[in-house]
Symmetry: C2
Subunit: 251 residues, 2 copies
DNA sequence: CATTTCAGATACAGACCTGTATTTGGATAC
DNA sequence: GTATCCAAATACAGGTCTGTATCTGAAATG
C-alpha cells in the first residue's frame, strides 16, 4: 500500500510497481472505495450518493463493492469509524503536545490554518456522518463515546494549560472543554457559510479570547452584579456557571 | 386557514368547519406539504425523502405536489426560506426584548428550554437545510445573508447589554455575536449527540459564563502574560482578539 | 505447469422514483 | 341549475438504483 495509486484498474499499477498479494490488493480496493465514498459524501451527501457512483469514482464496478462491504450502510459505518478515530487521535495529539496555553494556542492556530483550505468539504463530511449517526439509534451512543473522548482530551490539555499558568479554572474543565469544542464547531460552520465574515484565524482568535476571558474571570470572579435576581430557573447541576465544583462523571 | 386540519383529504374538513375558497384550499395544501416535508427531512434527510413519501405523509397524492411545486428542489427552497425567515424573526424579537444582560439571559434561557424537547429534530432539519444550501452555489449567498442578519440582531442585543452595564465590549460586538451565535450552534450539536453530558440549561449557562467572562476581561483587560511572545502568525484584521477597534463592514 | 481459489467484472431481475399526461369532481360564475 | 374551471387524483413511461447470481482471469499452491 505504498507506491501505486493510478486510480484506474489497479492491476496495471501492480505490474508497474510491485506485485501485490491478494490481501494487499483487497485492502487497497477497500481503502480506495472508502476514500471515494468520503469525497462523494462530502459533495453530495450520503443519501445523495449511489453505490454505483462510488465504485465509478474509485475506478471499479459494483462487484468490487459488494465483495468488500455488505452494503452502503456498512460502508458508512466503516467510514464513520475511520473518521472519528482520526479526529480523536488528532485531539489526543493536541493534548500531548500542549504544555502551556501559548503552546496550545499555537497548535490550534496552525491546525485551523491547515484545515482552512479544505474546511468546507471536511465539515460537510463530518456533518453528514453526524446526521447519519444521529438517525441510527444503535450508532448514536458509539458516536457519543468518541465525541466524549475528544472532549476529554481537550479537557486534559486545558487542565495542563491552567496549571501552567497557575490559575484556577472558572468552571470544571470538562465544561470548559465542552464550550471550547463546541465553539470550534460552530465557528467552522459560520466560516463555511459566510467566509467574508471571518478570516483564517478567527476560530483560533475566538478561542484565545475565550481563554483570556476565563483567566480574567479567575482573577476577578464576582462582579458586583445586581445582588438581587431571584435566579428563577436554575435548578440543576451539570453545566452550572458557578465557580469550581470539579468533576462530574465524565468517563 | 383557521379551524380545520384533519390531515386527511381536506374536503371533509371543509364541510365540517368552513367552506374554503379555492385559493385558501390551495394554500392549505401547500402549507401541509411543507410541514410534512419538514418533518420527513428532519428524520430522513432531504435526499432520503421522496416526493411520494412527502405527499403520503401529508395525506395527498403526487398530483397535489406537482400542482404546487415544480419539483423537490423548489420545495426545499421554499422550506429554506420559511425556516430561515422564522429564525431571523426570533432573533430580532430577542434583540428587541433584551434590555439588560439579565433580561437577555432570561430570554435565552427560556428559549432554549422551550426548544429542548424538539432540539434533535429541529437541529437535524436546520443542518439538512444548511448542507443543502452549502451545495448549491446560488443558494449559499442567500443563506449567508440570512445568517448575517441573525448575527447582526444578536450583536445589537449585545451592544445594548453592554451599554446597560456600562462596560466596554472586549472586542467588536459583531465578533462577540459571532462567537456567541456559534457557541449556541455547537453546544446544541453536542447536546443532541451526548445528552448525558449537558442539561437543559447548559447552552444558556455557557453563554452566561461567556458574558461574565467578557465583563471581567473588560474590567481587567491585560494579564501580565509573558510580555514576549513574537505572535508569529497573526497578520489579519477581522477577528483579532485585541480590545476595541469597532466596526467592520458588516452590512 | 496444472489446479485451485478468490477479487473483481458482467448480467439480470425487481423495486422505486420521477415527471407528465389525462381524468375527475367540487368550486365558481353566470 | 348549467357551464366552466381548476385542485387534486390517477395512469403511464422512462430512468436509476440495488442486490444477487454468474463469470473470468490473475494469484496462490503444489
Amino acid at each position: 500500500m505504498d507506491t501505486v495509486s493510478y486510480p484506474t484498474a489497479h492491476q496495471e499499477a501492480i505490474t508497474i510497481t510491485k506485485r501485490l498479494t491478494r490481501q494487499q490488493s483487497r485492502e487497497l480496493t477497500r481503502e480506495q472505495l472508502l476514500q471515494a465514498a468520503a469525497e462523494l459524501f462530502a459533495e453530495h451527501g450520503v443519501n445523495g450518493t449511489s453505490v454505483e457512483q462510488i465504485v465509478e469514482h474509485a475506478g471499479y464496478t459494483r462487484g468490487a463493492f459488494y465483495g468488500n462491504f455488505e452494503g452502503k450502510h456498512q460502508l458508512v459505518l466503516a467510514l464513520l469509524d475511520q473518521h472519528t478515530q482520526r479526529e480523536l487521535e488528532e485531539m489526543q495529539q493536541l493534548s500531548l503536545d500542549a504544555g502551556s496555553f501559548d503552546n496550545l494556542m499555537e497548535h490550534l492556530r496552525s491546525w485551523y490554518r491547515q484545515r482552512d483550505e479544505t474546511l468546507g468539504s471536511w465539515l460537510a463530511l463530518r456533518t453528514e456522518l453526524w446526521l447519519y449517526g444521529l438517525r441510527d439509534p444503535e450508532l448514536l451512543p458509539v458516536l457519543a463515546v468518541r465525541e466524549r473522548r475528544s472532549r476529554a482530551a481537550l479537557a486534559q490539555a486545558l487542565e495542563q494549560g491552567f496549571a501552567a499558568r497557575s490559575v484556577a479554572p472558572p468552571a470544571p474543565v470538562e465544561f470548559l472543554a465542552l464550550v471550547m469544542y463546541s465553539l470550534g464547531d460552530g465557528l467552522s460552520i459560520q466560516r463555511v457559510l459566510c467566509p467574508e465574515d471571518s478570516d483564517i484565524d478567527t476560530v483560533a482568535n475566538a478561542i484565545e479570547l475565550l481563554m483570556r476571558s476565563w483567566s480574567a474571570l479567575s482573577r476577578n470572579p464576582a462582579p458586583a452584579e445586581e445582588a438581587s435576581r431571584p435566579s428563577p430557573g436554575r435548578p440543576t447541576t451539570k453545566g452550572r456557571t458557578p465557580s469550581i465544583e470539579k468533576p462530574e462523571k465524565n468517563p
